[in-house]
């Protein structure tokens, strides 16, 4: 099987090259036979890489430790659940996963794209094949998953304990899917540039793909936060780690695109900007991959330093240069079809929203790269950690949150003063009311005050939009309010699904603000002894150490502490926190002991307990107790975000006015039918 897998990689490499060449040449010369060949190449590429993936999975499940990848990532006693995820838990396997999924997306695009967008497809096939071929070449020349060892060990080294968590089974593939699927909008953008068909048609072809990428990235980011929270044991979920930042960058740029694309669809404006955003999002996804795999910046996420970093750097530079040249040569074809009529308009508010999103992306990128810049310019090694990122990004984030509420309140084209007064009255009142309640409740943390009161303003906006829409439907069709709301969502999924996403953003910001009220303590407890910790929710929590137990599980030796938890003296449950010493099937220790956190999650606070270790080998143990406010709302906010994204993504339901190059006039957002007067 390994030989077949290796051969499949070579076949995929050659097929990918063929697809790229025939796609570009066929598209440029208008040769139908070459275009057809490029299309077929995408299917063949997908098939060859599917065989390679299958071969690696079979090797993993058969415990074929003659393969270096299998021996270094798995062991005979690794639970089956994690054998699946071993495919992408290491450098070589994740490259194969990436190439295979990209080839699958490339084939799906060829199969599913409607006829009216066929003109783009040869170039789309060429770009997807070229990118996949690059990943395959990295595998073949620097990180081969089918590399054999000179001898076959009895057992493998096993999987890193921190990866043996359900979050790690789903977080990386979701993030990869987000990164990978950006290639499809990028390929359409390149195709639009090459074919010079730069009207809104290419946007229609890529819109769903862009939303899909955004959704996958969102899920990947949220799952990554959840994994960090439940597995790493530091009591938080976002540390501004370079690799976290790298995943956030394309998400921010795609979010900007999903807003600004509406202006091009409705008004035929921002063509240059939208193209730049898609091209930038893809380049940032490759940049993120470079950061993760090159070891150029220290990160807890990084794969070990390896030569693949050089491959990614050169590929990134080549792609950026080629894209920039193509983009600049097409600028004269990207003139806007309409003019902005007022500074106070939905279009202008979206532009400011874009400014903030790209501003945040820039500051995150700047902060991530600044240590390298500092060392290159001044020769001084510095650290840019959470204090820097929070200082720079919190004000920008709050401004962006406010724009989330402002945008929907301003009319397209031009807003009048009476219209603004009518639109802003309820949301602003809500925001001020929330602020007053917080002040009366004694909240003094400026960031939290701002985040929650601006969140109130945004919620006021969303509720008002739903209420007005439902009222209009009630007046027009006599629908009861709940049904009218469902109809609103069903008939204009993009707009109202977007509002659900805005609600999710509010939930996330409020939950983030909750971390300002975190309390924690460390304590040494013998069995029967207790530690008390007062939360900012006003309750006193008592943690009583009940005892230590040790036992063997499938691939680990467990030391578990049981904690009785009381709130204001009343029992509310028990927590269990563990130290795990992983072993292979021969009983040999494979990694340093790891910690499993005990978490009791609630709507107001999470109780978070970490077993630090034992004193003198006795049951006397050291614990860290943390009360994390509002963390549950991060996960709920993430869930709402995904629901909102799915509503937006769901096919049909939203007639969108496309502003093509031949459409003669700019239009307002409403269509009004004038009936003859009675």
């Amino acid at each position: 099987m390994p030989l077949l897998g290796h051969l499949s990689l070579w076949v995929a490499f050659l097929v990918g090259l063929w697809g790229a060449i025939t796609g570009f040449v066929g598209g440029a010369r208008g040769r139908g036979d070459l275009q057809q060949s490029a299309r077929h190449a995408t299917f063949a590429l997908c098939g060859a890489l599917a065989v390679a993936v299958l071969c690696l999975e079979v090797a993993i499940f058969r415990h074929d430790f003659s393969l270096q990848y299998v021996a270094s990532r798995t062991s005979r006693n690794l639970p089956t659940f994690y054998l699946w995820s071993a495919l992408y838990s290491g450098q070589e396997g994740s490259l194969l996963f990436w190439a295979a999924v990209l080839s699958l997306f490339g084939a799906l695009v060829q199969a599913l794209t409607s006829r009216r967008h066929r003109a783009y497809l040869p170039y789309v096939a060429a770009v997807t094949s070229l990118v996949a071929t690059f990943f395959i070449s990295v595998m073949l020349f620097a990180a081969n998953p089918f590399q054999r060892l000179p001898f076959t060990p009895l057992d493998g080294q096993g999987m890193n304990p921190q990866l043996q968590n359900p979050g790690m089974v789903f977080h990386p593939p979701m993030l990869y899917l987000g990164y990978i699927s950006i290639t499809i909008p990028f390929a359409f953008a390149i195709a639009a540039l090459l074919t010079k068909k730069l009207d809104a048609e290419w946007l229609v072809a890529v819109r769903k793909w862009a939303i899909l990428s955004w959704l996958f990235l969102s899920i990947g980011l949220i799952l990554g936060m959840w994994w960090a929270y439940v597995e790493l044991g530091w009591g938080g979920y976002w540390a501004w780690d370079p690799v976290e930042n790298a995943a956030l960058l394309p998400w921010l740029v795609l979010t900007a695109f999903l807003h600004s694309v509406m202006i091009q669809e409705k008004r035929g404006m921002l063509k240059k900007w939208n193209l730049a955003l898609i091209l930038g999002a893809w380049l940032l996804s490759i940049f993120g991959t470079f950061l993760t795999r090159s070891g150029v910046i220290a990160s807890v996420h990084s794969f070990t330093e390896s030569p693949v970093g050089h491959f990614f750097l050169w590929f990134l530079l080549f792609a950026a240069a080629a894209t920039a040249v193509l983009y600049v040569t097409r600028l004269p074809l990207l003139e806007a079809e309409a003019k902005l009529e007022s500074m106070v308009s939905r279009e202008a508010s979206f532009l400011f929203n874009n400014l903030l999103l790209i501003g945040i992306a820039f500051s995150v990128l700047w902060g991530t790269l600044f240590p390298i810049l500092s060392e290159a310019v001044k020769g001084t090694k510095i650290t840019v950690g959470p204090p820097f990122f929070n200082q720079v990004n919190v004000p920008l984030g709050l401004a962006l949150l406010a724009m989330t509420g402002v945008g929907p309140l301003i009319a397209w084209r031009r807003a009048s003063i009476p219209n603004l007064q009518r639109q802003f009255a309820v949301p602003l009142t809500t925001g001020v009311f929330v602020l007053l309640i917080l002040l009366v409740a004694g909240v003094r943390d400026f960031g939290a005050l701002m985040a929650i009161s601006i969140g109130g303003f945004v919620l006021g906006t969303v509720v008002q939009e739903f209420a007005r829409g439902a009222r209009a439907r009630h007046r027009q069709y006599g629908e009861p309010t709940p049904y009218a709301i469902v109809q609103l969502l069903a008939r204009n999924r993009r707009r109202y699904g977007g509002y659900i996403v805005h609600v999710a953003i509010v939930l996330l910001f409020v939950a983030f603000a909750g971390m300002a009220f975190k309390t924690e303590t460390e304590a040494t407890l013998r069995p029967g002894e207790s530690a008390e910790l007062k939360g900012r929710d006003g309750h006193v929590y008592t943690f009583t150490h009940l005892g230590i137990s040790q036992y063997n599980a499938l691939n680990r030796q467990v030391t578990a502490a049981l904690i009785d938890v009381r709130r204001d003296g009343k029992a509310i449950g028990r927590l269990r926190t563990e130290k795990r010493q992983h072993v292979n099937a021969l009983g040999n220790k494979t990694f340093e002991p790891s910690t499993e956190v005990g978490i009791m999650s609630g709507l107001r606070v999470d109780l978070y307990v970490v077993l630090a270790g034992l004193v003198n080998g006795t049951e006397q143990a050291v614990f860290r107790f943390t009360i994390n406010p509002l963390v549950w709302w991060v996960w709920f906010g993430g869930f709402v975000l995904v629901i909102g994204g799915l509503i937006v993504l769901w096919p049909g339901g939203a007639p969108v006015a496309i502003k093509g190059s031949k459409a003669p006039f700019a239009q307002a957002g409403y269509a009004v039918k004038l009936e003859p007067q009675a």
Partner: protein, 183 residues
């Protein structure tokens, strides 16, 4: 030490040994202590001192994890660097040094990389202010562009999708309809 009599010293040693034995008996030895990771020492009041934690949150652990000393030493409790750095912070504060003096000592010993955020001076100012300056500059350019676009739009005669024969009454009804939808 010279002030302590031999009897007093023996009594203290016996009391300490007794306490350790009592602790061990009370707490009970576990089957295999090695499974529970690095042995811990009991937490002291200084470990939970908010002032110490605040200092440690500004200083980076040297183990390469990228976390601050406090977070690193209380995360997996396996790091072999952060406990030593914690002791160093305790030693310096124990000598009566202020938070800033402790931080300065760390910078003198480990360089600027010891800080979780670079100090706001020299080239580092670029780190702090370039994003803000870039965003302000972009906002200024955007506002200027918006003004130019709106001026150009005002100069172009307004074209509408309404039939050229629309009467003032029809236009007024259209406005009413739009207002009703907005309301």
């Amino acid at each position: 030490m010279s002030d302590i009599s031999r009897r007093g010293f023996l009594a203290a040693a016996l009391a300490t040994a007794g306490a350790v034995i009592q602790d061990t008996v009370r707490a009970g030895r576990v089957y295999d202590p090695d499974r529970a990771g690095r042995a811990q020492t009991p937490i002291t009041a200084a470990d939970n001192d908010a002032r110490i934690q605040a200092i440690e949150k500004k200083l980076r652990c040297t183990c390469g994890c990228g976390l601050d000393i406090y977070t690193c030493r209380t995360t997996d409790f396996q790091c072999t660097y952060s406990p030593g750095l914690h002791q160093e912070v305790l030693r310096l504060t124990g000598r009566g040094k202020t938070a800033q003096q402790v931080i300065d000592e760390f910078v003198a010993q480990y360089g600027q990389a010891a800080l979780m955020a670079p100090p706001k001076r020299g080239f580092n100012l670029a780190g702090y202010f370039v994003p803000s300056i870039a965003i302000i500059a972009a906002a200024a350019i955007l506002v200027r562009a918006l003004r130019r676009w709106t001026r150009e739009a005002a100069a172009v005669p307004v074209r509408t999708t309404l039939p050229p024969t629309a009467t003032p009454e029809e236009l007024e009804r259209l406005q009413r309809e739009l207002d009703r939808l907005d309301a």
